[in-house]
Amino acid sequence: MNPAFPLVPVRASSVASEVDALFLFILTVTGIAAVGIWIALLYFAIRYRRRSDDERPAEIEGSLVLELTWTIIPFLLMIAMFVWGAKVFFHLNRPPDDAMTVSVVGKRWMWKLQHPTGQREVNQLHVPVGRAVKLVITSEDTIHSFYVPAFRIKKDAVPGRYNLAWFQATRTGTYHLFCAEYCGTEHSRMTGSIVVMEPEEYQVWLAGGPAPESPVLQGEKLFTDLNCITCHRMDDAGRGPVLRGVFGRSVKLASGEEITADAAYVRESILIPTAKVVAGYQPVMPTYQGQVNEEQILALIAYIESLRIPASAAAPARTPTSGAPSR
């Protein structure tokens, strides 16, 4: 953080320079337009200022050619801005396949983060430089927004939904993490930092402290503790569907619909089991609403995802991500 007088925020992620290039393009175009109009305005205002009270300037009706010119040229420039912007936006919304997943849970007024290896952090996230990090973001209470200016990323944490963001840090250092969506009294204190480290340092950092459990293992433990295992057995003799190999696949529902078993579906099935019952099963599962928190749900999802059958691991590219009322 430069304490002096910065005019450009630090660029510390792979997309930051992409966003800044676009920013600069729009700034140039709009800057030229603005200065041009100001000059014309001032020049006309001074050059044609009223010199005598009975001055009657000649009438100018307007000009179709001019009107078309200043309609079409801005329009074309704007199309260019839109297309470029859409390209950057798609990039911002499509994490690389090999990204490591960090789960983010917003809660008034803190950020709870968990690494794929199980380490938990609050208001601080350590990440290795040069490695793509995918963030799965949700909230326990109201809407928050995960904002790292140096990375040029921002995504709302919405209760009941999973939103995605990703970044790949390009330089080591400590960067601001802000909550950007107003969430109450301590909104401005819901800040933290992202610590970008060399990969080796990151490994050392990971190794420090008590060996944590990975989300998959936590999820497996919860799966037993909550007695999920008695119905969702590994053979098909249980009262509930077999979960092995289900994640990312298409499932036929009792209603006849087909749905992809993604994180949102698993979450809904834990909290509202009767909403979308798999074909051939009875709606007998009780709700776990209130018994598991958002982090535990994420662990359960990680566990169920780990039960994927390797051959089908190449999941279809287009699967749902969104939350509750999207179907």
Binding site: F5, E67, G85
Partner: protein, 541 residues
Amino acid sequence: MTSESRTLPADHYLKSGWDLKSWLLTTDHKRIGLMYLVSITLMFAIGSIYAGIVRWNLLVPNGSQMSAEAYNKAFTGHGVVMVFFFLIPSIPATLGNFLIPLMIGAKDLAFPRINLLSWYIYVIGAALTMYALLTGGLETGWTFYTPYSTVFAESNVAVAAVGIFIAGFSSILTGLNFIVTIHKMRAPGLTWFRLPLFVWAHYATAIIQILGTPVVAITILLVALERLFHFGFFDPNRGGDPILFQHLFWFYSHPAVYIMILPSMGVISEIVTCFSRKRIFGYSFIAMSSLAIAVIGFLVWAHHMFVTGLSVYSAMVFSALTYLVAVPSAIKTFNWTATLFRGSVQWDTPMIYVFCFIGLFLIGGLTGLFLGNLGTDVHLTDTYFVVAHFHYIMVGGAIMGYLGGLHFWWPKITGRKYVESWGKVSSLLVFVGFNLTFFPQFVLGYLGMPRRYWSYPEEFQILNVLSTAGATILGFGYLFPFSYLTHSVFRGEPAGDNPWGAKGLEWTTQSPPKTHNFDAVPVVDEEPYDYASPPKETVRV
């Protein structure tokens, strides 16, 4: 400039009674306009005090000036009061009310009693909301996002929501009155393409008021129901979608920005042609671009929601449409500038406000391109960049236009002149103060300072101090017009019927006008803004 006698006419609308009853029960659109003027000036003062509290807190980074609760209530109060009780009624309810019947040669609006009713509704809504703000306050932000407003907020959300719901109907009824009046009450010969552009702008505004306001009214009502009776509309615990609230809210609240800016654009069109003494350049393009803005303005709302997890495909649609709405605003700006070309430009106070408007609205509009852009919006949304952007539109645009219009028609409204030099000084103060307040906020936003922050990292302090300094100057800039305009009501020199040598029916009647505006129904046989011929002599009876 004027050849008439320098005394006020013997009979005019202000003389039709001095007692309170003659005001509170009046159906005269001019008096109702003045009642609105007083009410919104009061609300503007309250909103400014809130703004002062906000800027005072932000002088220091650690929030040591006040508690976070107090700060959150201050910025919410600022937003609620300024948006719903100042900016939305500002020009339409005051100047629009006063001028539209005069401009179209009518004796009054189509429904004078409904016009009075809408003022009462406004006052009731404002009183209720102020009650909520002053007893316990409100800390949801003016946007009332769910589930914060329905579940977590610990303040008077329901009362304030009902107050805003009520005030919404004041806006709807004003718009309804304008639409009917403009359609049905025009003087003989006043065809659509002879209408003043001020009237066109208000017609476009009225469309938004009619078609947009009811949606936010029902949405705010649903928030109140969810909060008071635990109904479930947006509650994620019951499968509700808080993002749906944002959709419905912005369906109105984005077009609402055009409710604030379109009338101001109408004012600018009137002034720029008068003080260039030349027909406005591209009349029909300016008129049609107002309608285009009103319609396209409804198609862009989700650009406020690009980082909420909105589907990327939907985001693309909304971003593309957003770029479309920028075109008509650009057309207007080019046409105003072209009007000056080879004109006879008079640097009087109203015209100086026009220069301010065009210069600042330009920045406001162009920075909108950064926010409508999918790539840059992600970084900039919910930061001070947005705050600066919309203040350039609403203060640099809407309020500059409002002040310009107030100065331009002041002689018509009061029959008297204000002191020109005071007008020039204060317009300069407002311009300088405004830029010093809000330009640093663009930089702050680009650097990443989120909005609605009570405390902030130290590296942002310099820019915040600059901003607060600017706000102080701006505050003084606003005090001046308030004082010298008020002074001129009592001590101002009589202005004459048409001190600017302006065109338009409102200048053909006496200043201040009679209660019934015209002695005989005027007949229009001129094209609009026919500045080539000298102004018509006023017919005095």
